[in-house]
Subunit: 481 residues, 2 copies
């Protein structure tokens, strides 16, 4: 069967709502959202049911058609962008967007993988519940994409990554068979855990079609505090104190250097400095309560910060006096990436080391990076409570972006990743590998891990039809002569 | 190289402390602890380091020598018992029993896989910490065995199974390469999660050699309550009320029918009835506190049980007045299996369904089982809070064990498992598959799951040297002519 006959077959299967090869329809989905990777696709497939997904994959497998699953297309590593050959089909589950069941008793929701995160939030909020994971792309990110990338965000400290919130999954495997693991079992020791294997697999060994997700009670109230400290090590000491004193009330603990705050205030309209202090580091702390018999977060925060100020660990601290002010604090945190883009070119790294080592990493490695590449500045910010920092290395003032990237990008990023690896850390804490980090992943991974990943990929997807060129660095192919 | 030459090579590698083929040395380890499976082994290998484990596996892989990893030999499904051929070597990590580091700040312990659970408990207790997983075999069960079987127990409700407590693992894969995932990263999205793949893999795709485990603060105090209710559904209603009212203080919620209590009192010296009521069902509840600013568990329990008695859901309730009495309550729960063995032959099933469905399962299916096999009695007890029950079907009074097993075992167990499967449940909630459940697992698994498991096993262990005949039902081989 020729390629066009295969597409014709898919077109017949899916109908006009589920199939398009019109270049105008495809255009928005063949570039990653940061605009750095551009691909081509033969068609966009939008199945309406798990059975249709299964049929698509059977056809693809029979005819060696490669499929690129795409959720909200808001990933950071181009994991959902097809290559330039134009031979692949995009497959999107946007039509599979039903929320099938919200169970207030077991606090679970079952839904199709195409449900957009924000819609999920709203649907469960209507039942007095909360799905405790959120991120910037919530208006487009889908449940299937969040699972397949094991998404993180700013609530991981208390609730874990997506992995902790998935109670069950249904997925279509690369041979078209349907794995039904939707029923939420708290205990199940029947062999290798396929749920955990599919989470974070970036669509390379199957497509998640439905999921059962864990919910928590809706928030009654929260306290959001802005705290200034001298150094990352002081921020870590504050984290330990907060973990001991506030325990399960502590939901967020984000760190940023003052320079990041300066950039936000400079570039993002309507933002202003929460505290006087203009040096050192800042920490954003969120305390929550979801049950009447817990202490009010504001009193918790007042007591805790009073002690920290008295002990000299906190140099300055303010608790948001209203929900509006709380949102203003969070807006600063959520605007850092945008402000940094406006401030000038930078190389971004999403890295993790053990929580206990991150402050040391920042204090030790950043000056060395800056010294080695004169004029650069490190801006490290993010989820200190998870040992996960977004580590930006900014170009020298006045540098031309393209020229600087061409000269330094590879060397600087390799240097950062070498240092992370020396700490036993991860070169991708929450963004995944996709295609953007494939080369560095292969360079730095220990061979045991790499070989195991390759073996699993080849075993489950022997024809290589599922999201080729992503996540797993297969053995390099010889370059064309 | 002949078989004896391979053994000689291993003997030279490991020395007299690490190698024995003396039948007397081997005898205790070639039968599972329930005495139902008997095997033979060519030797017992006891490496002292990860490097030695790696060397053993390389030799085994090169010469197609099969290896059967064994922890404390206290498993329930004969997953660590070799087959009868005598061709396999047992490999035990009992010499790798170092506790390398207890970190009070991050609340983590790093240790070798041969550490016995009870020793781990004691070592971390000395630092004011607690490893919140325990089970009957704690005096022999090892960390490696607990990880490889994803062990459960009576604290899963609050702390999860072993899977939730493993922060990092080191393992030797079937090609002898060493996977180093020991560093505890809270976020790491570098491909398929090998840690989760190894947990519960029963040593079929590698041997866990070291681990980093999560700890919690030591308990300050606890309240243990005995509550009588009319039915499993009432016990479930009590569980929901407890979850809402007691939240993170609730650590244990175990259920048993009055008949199980009767059997314990009859067969286990020194036990007595905690409450007057002699009918219906009983629930054992444990509430804990590990921080000064939490409410004392006894007040929590008094308030909660007062409300439940008033509401008529609890028919009777008593809170242990002392630690001695608390232990007496737990002794009843922990003695059920022994009392049931003394009472007469029974078929045991370790099953799970969604938590919300377990009471219904017991109330609906047990009478049908009893009616279908006249004279039998179902005794269902255990972890209601996890949706996991040990489901015993007892032989009719006066039945001869062997005769009854021979006639009914297969049919009754298949019937139980069919019903569990109809509820979307698991035929092995916490005990694993081993060799004991392999046939039923193959019969009842959906093909997608089975094929994926087979593909993974064959990909990672192409020579089939790691714990053959366990966990993964490979395609049946033709019988010898």
């Amino acid at each position: 069967m020729s390629d066009s006959q295969v597409l014709e077959k898919l077109s017949q299967l899916l109908g006009s709502k589920g199939f398009t090869s019109d270049p105008d329809d495809l255009a928005p989905w063949t570039t990653d959202w940061r605009g750095r990777y551009h691909g081509q696709a033969a068609a966009l497939l939008s199945p309406a049911t798990t059975a249709e997904v299964s049929e698509i994959i059977k056809i693809a497998n029979a005819h060696q058609l490669t499929l690129v699953p795409q959720g909200g297309n808001s990933g950071m590593v181009a994991g959902a962008t097809p290559d330039e050959s134009g031979a692949s089909c995009l497959i999107s589950l946007r039509r599979m967007n039903r929320i099938e069941m919200v169970d207030a008793t077991s606090r679970q929701v079952r839904c199709e993988a195409g449900v957009v995160l924000q819609n999920l939030h709203e649907a469960v909020a209507a039942q007095g519940l909360r799905f405790p994971l959120t991120l910037g792309g919530k208006g487009s990110a889908t449940v299937g994409g969040l699972i397949s990338t094991n998404a993180g965000g700013t609530q991981v400290l208390r609730h874990g990554t997506m992995r902790s919130l998935v109670a069950g999954v249904e997925a279509v495997l690369p041979d078209g068979s349907i794995y039904n693991g939707l029923v939420p079992l708290k205990k199940d020791n029947r062999g290798y855990d396929l749920k955990h294997l599919l989470i974070g697999a970036e669509g390379t060994i199957g497509i998640v079609t439905r999921a059962t997700l864990q919910l928590v009670p809706a928030l009654l109230d929260r306290a959001v505090a802005w705290v200034s400290v001298d150094t990352p090590q002081d921020a870590y000491a504050l984290l330990l104190a907060a973990t001991n004193a506030l325990d399960s009330a502590l939901e967020g603990f984000e760190i940023l250097p003052d320079v990041a705050l300066q950039h936000v205030i400079k570039h993002i309209p309507g933002t202003r400095r929460p505290v006087e202090s203009e040096k050192g580091w800042h920490v954003l702390i969120e305390l929550v309560r979801d049950s009447d018999d817990q202490v009010a977060p504001t009193s918790l925060a007042e007591n805790f910060l009073g002690e920290m100020l008295e002990a000299g660990l906190a140099k300055d601290a303010v608790i948001a006096a209203s929900e509006t002010q709380a949102e203003a604090f969070w807006k600063i945190r959520d605007s850092i990436a945008e402000a940094e883009r406006a401030e000038g070119p930078a190389l971004q790294h999403d890295i993790s080391v053990p929580v206990s080592a991150m402050a040391r990493f920042i204090e030790t490695e950043s000056p060395q990076i800056e010294a080695r590449y004169p004029g650069t500045m490190v801006v490290a910010f993010g989820h200190l409570g998870d040992g996960n920092i977004h580590y930006h290395v900014k170009a020298p003032k006045g540098a031309t972006a393209e020229e600087w990237y061409a000269r330094f990008a590879q060397a600087i990023s390799a240097d950062v990743y070498d240092r992370v690896t020396a700490y036993g850390g991860s070169i991708s804490a929450e963004h995944g590998i996709g295609q953007a980090k494939l080369v560095e992943f292969e360079r730095l991974s220990d061979p045991a891990r790499l070989n195991a990943l390759r073996a699993i990929k080849l075993a489950l997807d022997p024809n290589g039809i599922m999201n080729p060129g992503k996540l797993v660095p297969l053995a390099s192919k010889p370059a064309a002569a």
